[in-house]
Structures are given as C-alpha cells and as structure tokens.
Amino acid sequence: MAPRRAPEATAGRGSLENLLASREIIVACGPGGVGKTTTAAAAAAMAAARGGGKVLVLTIDPARRLANALGLEGIGNTERRVPDSAFASAGIKPRGQLFAAMLDTKESWDDLIRHHAPDDRTRDEILANPLYRNISGRFVQSHDYIAMERLFEIHSEGIYDLIVVDTPPTRNALDFLDAPERMAEFFSSRLLRWLIVPYRSRLVNFASKPFYQVADRILGTQFLADIAEFFILFQSMYDGFIERARAVQRLLADRRTSFIVVSTLETVPLREAEFFAQAITERKLHLGSIVLNKVLPDYLRDPAGAAVAERLRDRAQEIAEAVAPTIGVPDTAQVRRVLAEVGQNYMDYRLVAQSEAEKRTELFTTAEAVVSVPYFETDVHDFAGLMRLGAGLWGE
C-alpha cells in the first residue's frame, strides 16, 4: 500500500480531511434524497487527489451523469480505475488513485453462494431455487446485507488504503447496520431447524403439529415444501454464513471504520439524520462526521441585504423611475416589476436560509466534525463538479 499523507494540523471541525486520512473505511449513511451518493464519491475523489494512496468508492445507485463522471457507465460489480484524465478535466493532478465500483445486488449474492456452497450441485440448486431468486433479486433487506458483505470482501483483499461506501436507501434507518447480525440470527435460529425437520425425516408426522396445520392452510403444502428445500440447501452453508456475518459486524465496529451521516437542513431529513447519528452512537460505532448538504449561502442572511430587498420591493415604483434612464429601459412598469420580484425573492430565500441556520445551531451531535456544504446551482454532472463539492467537504 502506498503511504498515506499525514493530515494537516489545520484541518479541523469543519472538514472531512482528518477523518478520511485516519480511517480505512468510511460508511456514508443518511436519509434518501440528500446527495449521499454524490457526497461519498466527492469525498473519495478528494482523498485520492489530496491524500494519496488507493481510494475506492463503492456506490449503490449513482445518477447517470455521476456514473459518467466516474467512468462507471455500464459497469457492474468490478472495481474500475477512474482515469487521471478525469482529474485533469478538473485541472487536478491527483496524488493517489481513485477507483469506483457499483454494487450489483444479484451478482454479489451469486458470488457469495459460489463462495460458500459446499459442492457444485448445491450451488446450482440454490442458484436455481425460485425462493433464492426472489430473495436475491427483489427482497429489500438482502440489499442491506450484501452491501456490507461486499465491503468486507473488498476490504479483506487489502488492495485499498481507503474505501468509501455509500449505503442503500433503507426502509428503516437501522436496517443496514443490523443486517449482518440479523442474517446470522436468521441462519442460526432454532425455528429454522424446527421448520425443516419434517422434510428431512419422514418419521415425524408433521401434519399433527398445530403450526403446520395453520401454515399449511395459509400457505399451501407445496410452498412450505419449497421453503423447506431452500433452507435445507442453505443449511449446508450455515457455518460459513454465520462466521462471515459476524466478521462483517466486527469490521463495522472496528476503529478503522467510521460513519458519516449525510443530511440537508430540511426538517424531515434532519430528524431522520439525528436518528441515524443516535443509532450509530448507541451501537458504539464511530460517528466521524455529519455532512450538511445543500446549505443555502450566507449572503441570504445578511441583515443589510434584507433592508435592501425590502426597499426594492416596497419602493419599487420610485426606484424604477429613478434607475430606468441609467439602464436605458423606457418601460418603468417593467423595471418596477423586476425590482419588486427581486426584493421579494430575497426575502423568500432568506426565510428558508434563516430557518436552516436555526436548525444548524440546534443540531446536537457527538460527531467529531460537522461539515456544511454550500448549495450549488446545478447538479453535479462532471468531475469538476465533484471536486467542487469535495472542496466543500474539506471546508474550503
């Protein structure tokens, strides 16, 4: 591994720089729609550009233009080097190397089965089982588990100095944190063994047991048999799975791993983000930073600005008449409308900016750093945009 540059002593509470320089894994989580994926990509790009070493961003579902910017278009599970020409397009010569990979849930599950299956026949039977196909493709919680599993896999290969991972949007904030543990519990459950007993031993008259009576009436015998077959096949991989899920869990709790919670200052995402941060702390995981995205610019809260805006709005007629000759517009009514709109617009945005600022001060957190990233007028659609966001994450 390439040596990592020591963090600047000056980088402080408003920057991700120290955190990314001192950890091996950064897990970006938070509510949906706050720019989590883009933030993860920008943080990784900055770490590669400024810090050096090999940095990987493992993303879940990037926007097409972000995928393009990372050179990820049409790429699945395998990691790809982001070419230096991408950095060059943003006028940057990176110290290290940036890699990117996109998580393909189905492919990752299949890899996992191939890895754990005791023999080829079991492998093929599992891959062909209708329940397995449903679980790996459609089933929501399987995404949470596989993201953490893939992270573990890549980390254990030891190729990268830093891995930044984006998390899937979860139904419940805690799903992906609990996924490895739940998976382990699931496969070690006594219920599981109880459920498949009748299908292993024809000596037991399972139809007499009340559970099977009810289950049979609800689900039908064939479906129960399908479920049992699936579990019997899976049981052959039981030890491997449990061990793996526990190892994933340990890695998340390791001091080499840190979590960042991404949010905006809107009411609902922020409430969810606080819930995330609390859950991370409660689980004794390391909460490295809270990143506040799309924060409206400070000039919107300028008191002098408000006075000007009100004057433009309330005395639009008078000011329009005075300024019209200077700008060479004969239609003063039109100038009045523009001035009034401009004034009102400032007051509208100011209201939102002020409410954001209040929420920012109320934000209680144990995170080492709280980073505010300004609102950019356009979406991130090229590498330069990504680096601009990255600079924001470095507190610049």
Partner: protein, 315 residues
C-alpha cells in the same frame, strides 16, 4: 383517466426526500374536506403522519384525527392477527405469540409474505367499504414495486391454499383502474426525476396497478419572463451599481445574486421537468405543487399543500 379522488385506493410513492408523506397527508386531508370518508395509512412507521397532522401517534387501529379523516400505521404482525381472527377459526389462534413469531420468520425468507399482509389489509379496507378513499403513504420508489407486485408474486409461487385464493380478490382490486392507482411524487431535480421515469416503466411492466398521476412537488416560481430578464441583466451591469446602491440605501449585491440563484435553479429544474414530461405518457396527469417559502411545517403547511393540490385537481 379516473380522477385521484374518484378512486378508492391511492398509493403515494416517490424517492426519499421529495415530500411523499406531505403530499399523501395533503391528498387525504383534501379528500376528507370534500366529503370523502378517508383513511390515511402510513406504511413505513416513522411517525411522520402524526407529526404532520399534529395528532396523537397513529397505530394499527385507525383513529379519527380530523373530521372525516382517519389515520393508521401499518403493522404486519397486527395485520396477521386480524387476518387470522377474521378468516381462520382455529383454536391455536389463542396461542398467537409463537405463531406470529414463526410467521415472521417465514416472512423473512419468503418474499412477498410481509408485503401481502400490508396490501391485504389495505385491500380489505377497500373491499369492506369502511372508507370512500384509502390513501397510502407507501414505501419509497425502491420498495413500492415489491409491495404492489406481492399478490402476483405470491400467486405465482403458491399454487394452492388459502393465501392463493386470497390473492385473487386483492388482484381484482389492485388491477382495477376505477378503484386503484399509484401517484408518484417527485421534485424537479435530477435524481428524483430519473427515479420517477424508471419507476413509471417498472410499474407498467411489473405490476397491474395503474399510474394515476405524477405530482411534482416544490416547483420554484418563475421570477421573470424573457424581456424582464433582460431588464434584470441591465440592473446587474456595473454601470448601474452605484445608482442602484444609492437608491436602495446599501449594496444590492446579495439581493441581485439571490435573484440570479433563483433564476438558475428554476432553469435547471425546468430542464428536468421537460425530460420528465417527454418520458411520460401524455394521458398521465401531472400536478404541480409550489415550493413553500415558509418557516412552519405541520398541519398548517399540509393545509397549504392540500389547497394547491385541490386547485391542480380542478376543484
């Protein structure tokens, strides 16, 4: 196409962060104010519905939170209990604890079982005509397909048994555009629009439910027309600065920059909206809700969104 309020079951979905719960609550509120006995059901039990409607916390048993408006939160285990109580007269139901646990276990492994308990409860409320309209604050785009397609999935996986016959009537309700529809909420931003376009495609291909409407939330106002923008550009020119500073009493820089920001944002959004409109079947109504420049949230903002929604629905 059948109007949103004329259906009996409306799923409101959308990418996280676009205001899905707000719109679902506003739709339910508007319907209840227009004579529909309405049930609002929160599927992801986060408690947002109660917070927006400023009511006491919702539970599986629907409670009347405002006149004519009931609210509940989904709980698959409670749904299972209700189902067993109504459908199976089996003595074991008395010992439901371990049964629910076992079922929970099977549900974790067998995809669609949990979803069917959710959809089943919603369809049950529709079938029993307990309400005129059931509005569902449904899961986000990533999960809604699994939910809407659950009865079909079960129907394919399970060939016989009670649950098989149960999915038939659910499919009848879900597949009937006179009764059921999905409304997708989006904002005029890149990712939400992308997800909406993808979701529209998947709803058509993977479910039998009709797309009833696409609701664009947080649409920014248009500050000026084209000729007014020329005037604005002239006001921003260096030659106008000193005169404008004198007239306004201080540096107008921040105010002009803010207007520039608003114009750029509106323009970027317009591009995404255009993309959305082009991708959609013209028969699907698009409704537009304005961005709320407001400090308050809760019931007051829900009322405001409900008013805008009403105007868009032609009331």
């Amino acid at each position: 196409m059948v109007g949103l309020l004329d259906r009996r079951l409306v799923f409101v979905t959308g990418k996280g962060g676009v205001g899905k719960t707000t719109v679902a609550a506003a739709l339910a509120l508007f319907a209840s104010e227009h004579g529909r006995r309405t049930l609002l059901c929160e599927v992801d039990a986060k408690g947002d519905v109660a917070s927006f409607l400023e009511s006491k916390p919702t539970s599986f048993t629907a409670g009347e939170v405002l006149p004519n408006l009931w609210a509940m939160s989904m709980d698959t285990e409670a749904s299972l209990r209700e189902y067993l109580r109504l459908n199976l007269r089996i003595p074991v139901v008395g010992r439901i604890g371990p049964l629910a646990k076992a079922f929970d276990f099977v549900a974790t492994a067998a995809p669609g079982v949990r979803e069917i308990l959710t959809v089943g409860k919603l369809c049950f409320e529709v079938r029993e005509r307990h309400y005129d309209l059931v509005v569902v604050d449904a899961p986000a785009t990533g999960h809604i397909i699994g939910q809407l397609a659950a009865p079909q999935a079960i129907n394919e996986l399970v060939k016989v048994g009670l649950i098989r016959s149960q999915t038939d009537w659910m499919l009848d309700i879900l597949s009937d555009p006179l009764q059921t529809g999905v409304a997708i909420v989006t904002t005029p931003e890149e990712m939400p629009v992308n997800e909406t376009i993808e979701l529209v495609d998947r709803i058509g291909k993977e479910t039998t439910v009709e797309l009833a409407s696409v609701i664009v939330n947080r649409v920014l106002p248009e500050l000026f027309g084209r000729s007014e923008e020329e005037v604005f550009d002239k006001l921003c020119a260096d030659s106008a600065t000193s005169e404008l500073t004198r007239l306004a009493g201080a540096d107008p820089g921040p105010v002009l920059t803010a207007a520039r920001l608003a114009v750029t944002l509106r323009r970027t959004n317009a591009g995404h909206l255009e993309r959305l409109r082009t991708a959609l079947d013209p028969a699907v109504p698009m409704l537009y809700l304005p961005f709320l420049f407001a400090r308050y949230h809760g019931l007051r903002s829900i009322r405001q969104v409900a008013r805008s929604l009403g105007e868009e629905l032609g009331f």
